[in-house]
């Protein structure tokens, strides 16, 4: 596999409880980007591209001016949904750098929900328009509701118990205890607390649902040539993928493969392109908007068949650096912070560098899988240089 682009910088702002950042969202974005560029040992003026996902507020034109870039040569975002696009953004940056369209691309995401409002809150009026009627008219309103509908059927089809959902949440919280940056550091979660927590939407308890937070995270992607004399060891992008399986593009639970998490094709492509297998992966970050869809995504990515996924995640199989599959090692959306999944990208890169607070030994392959339950899915696989 030809490795044509590498990550050379990782950075973030401080992370905050939702609505409590003193900075504006644009300020958070600039702080994270500046930190990533400094980490790389680059100058801000060398940045010539920006990618993000679902980022309508901190646009590349405004960033270029604020950050003093010399020329802007590439600016793009993937189609579709929300957190499912976080790895697709990295894929675009990889394509731009590999294809010679830009030399130093920043990928980032910033959120300040006090300033701009939340995702999990319905913002509908008393009149519904178009396709929203087929769900919202019946009280199916939020991402949690959509993912709960998928999860319930998946649990039914594959005899999965509530304990498997708990296993996802407990691993994130346990790993967050090692990470001083994590908003849940110092707030451990027990299985009893998990089960005793209130229902948000069955089958999701409170601890199955990620919080919403304020903050920003960024990485810098450049060519192997430019990376040679920079501060940190480069982290190559071995493969990235975005996509859908046939018949899964039309929503409202009428996808051919319902209850899919939209990772069948992404899994197929990323193993094809990288030439490795799921069992070769040393550490994996899976976007957990809600715990249930992680189980679907994990099985669609090929880590275990759906009927075996509960066994695959049980008995602490995901917790800590020595786990069978070290998972969400910074705490993830649930435990570290919900920066729309970008904190998972930063962690996946840090694992290859040896800079994680839950460091896995001798990491060769570090996977980040974007948001499940919304289409199209995406994933990125980093490797050791």
């Amino acid at each position: 596999m030809q490795r044509r682009s590498v990550v050379v910088g990782v950075g973030e702002s401080s992370y905050y409880k939702r609505g409590t950042a003193q900075e504006t969202e644009f300020q958070l974005a600039c702080i994270a980007i500046r930190n990533a560029v400094e980490d790389a040992g680059l100058d801000l003026s060398e940045i010539d591209g920006f990618v993000s996902h679902m980022e309508s507020r901190n646009d590349p034109m405004r960033l270029s001016r604020a950050l003093g870039v010399e020329t802007l040569d590439f600016a793009a975002q993937p189609w579709g949904g929300g957190g499912n696009g976080v790895a697709a953004g990295i894929m675009l940056a990889d394509a731009a750098v590999s294809g010679g369209l830009a030399k130093c691309v920043v990928a980032f995401r910033a959120l300040a929900q006090g300033q701009f409002g939340r995702f999990g809150q319905a913002r509908m009026a008393n009149r519904l328009y178009g396709a929203a009627n087929y769900s919202a008219l019946y009280g199916l309103l939020s991402p949690a509701h959509i993912c709960a509908m998928q999860t319930r059927r998946f649990m039914h089809d594959h005899h999965i118990s509530q304990e498997a959902l708990a296993d996802i949440a407990l691993a994130c919280y346990a790993n967050a205890q090692l990470n001083p940056r994590a908003l849940r550091c110092g707030k451990p979660l027990s299985r009893e607390q998990y089960h005793a927590s209130r229902w948000i939407v069955e089958p999701f308890h409170l601890f199955d649902c990620c919080p919403e937070n304020d903050g920003a995270a960024a990485i810098v992607i450049t060519t192997p040539e430019r990376a040679k004399d920079l501060r940190k060891k480069p982290v190559p992008i071995l493969a990235a993928a975005q996509g859908l399986d046939a018949g899964d593009g039309f929503g409202a639970f009428n996808e051919r493969n319902f209850p899919t998490a939209f990772y069948r094709n992404v899994g197929k492509r990323i193993w094809e392109r990288s030439g490795v297998r799921p069992a070769d992966v040393d550490v994996a970050q899976f976007y957990e908007n809600f715990t249930g869809p992680v189980l679907i995504a994990m099985s669609e990515m090929g880590f275990a068949p759906p009927d075996g996924i509960e066994e695959f995640v049980s008995n602490g199989a995901l917790e800590g650096p020595d786990a069978r599959l070290p998972f969400n090692t910074s705490g993830g959306n649930l435990g570290e912070a919900y920066i729309h999944g970008f904190e998972l990208i930063n962690e996946a890169v840090r694992q290859v560098r040896g800079e994680s607070t839950c460091q896995v030994e001798n990491v060769e392959l570090s996977l980040a899988v974007a948001g499940p339950g919304f289409s199209p899915g995406s994933a990125v696989l980093f490797c050791r240089d």
């Binding site: 519904l128 199916l140 209130r198 939407v201 639970f253 009428n254």
Partner: protein, 144 residues
């Protein structure tokens, strides 16, 4: 007839594409004029043959619960007093590739289960603001 989510809950604006489903008094599904394939929700192009002209097919209104959720945390202020409520995903018996959302109006949320047979029923509402007479598809349990 009072509505499952309360009479103050939102109502649809009937554009030409959604009108048949919410005002015909039956479970009326979009069907392609060229290849006869049903699809839901309706779209501008047939997903089977890319046809652009459509008619409709009426289901007999019998279905099976394919999945469901029970909402406890209200994400809209108008539902604060209404939780917990269930939303079900129904597979139509006579168009098994079609799934529609609905509420099981005669069952407590905890009584809803996957595989439960259900029958369509309709919330008949006169929308005073638009003058439309709506028939909002809902579902009731079918026993024996």
């Amino acid at each position: 007839m009072s509505r499952y989510l309360g009479d103050a809950w939102a109502l649809p604006y009937l554009d030409p594409q959604i009108r048949p489903f919410f005002s015909s008094g039956v479970i009326r599904i979009q069907v392609c004029r060229s290849c006869d394939a049903p699809q839901h929700p309706p779209d501008d192009v047939c997903h089977a043959c890319q046809g652009t002209e459509f008619s409709h097919r009426d289901s007999a209104g019998l279905g099976t619960v394919h999945s469901f959720i029970i909402v406890h945390h209200p994400v809209h202020p108008a539902l604060t007093e209404r939780v917990p409520y269930a939303v079900a995903l129904i597979t139509l018996d006579d168009m098994p590739q079609i799934r529609v959302c609905g509420n099981i109006v005669d069952a407590a949320p905890e009584a809803v289960s996957i595989g439960q047979p259900v029958r369509a029923t309709f919330e008949e509402i006169h929308d005073a603001e638009t003058g439309e007479d709506l028939t909002i598809p809902q579902w009731e349990t079918l026993t024996g």
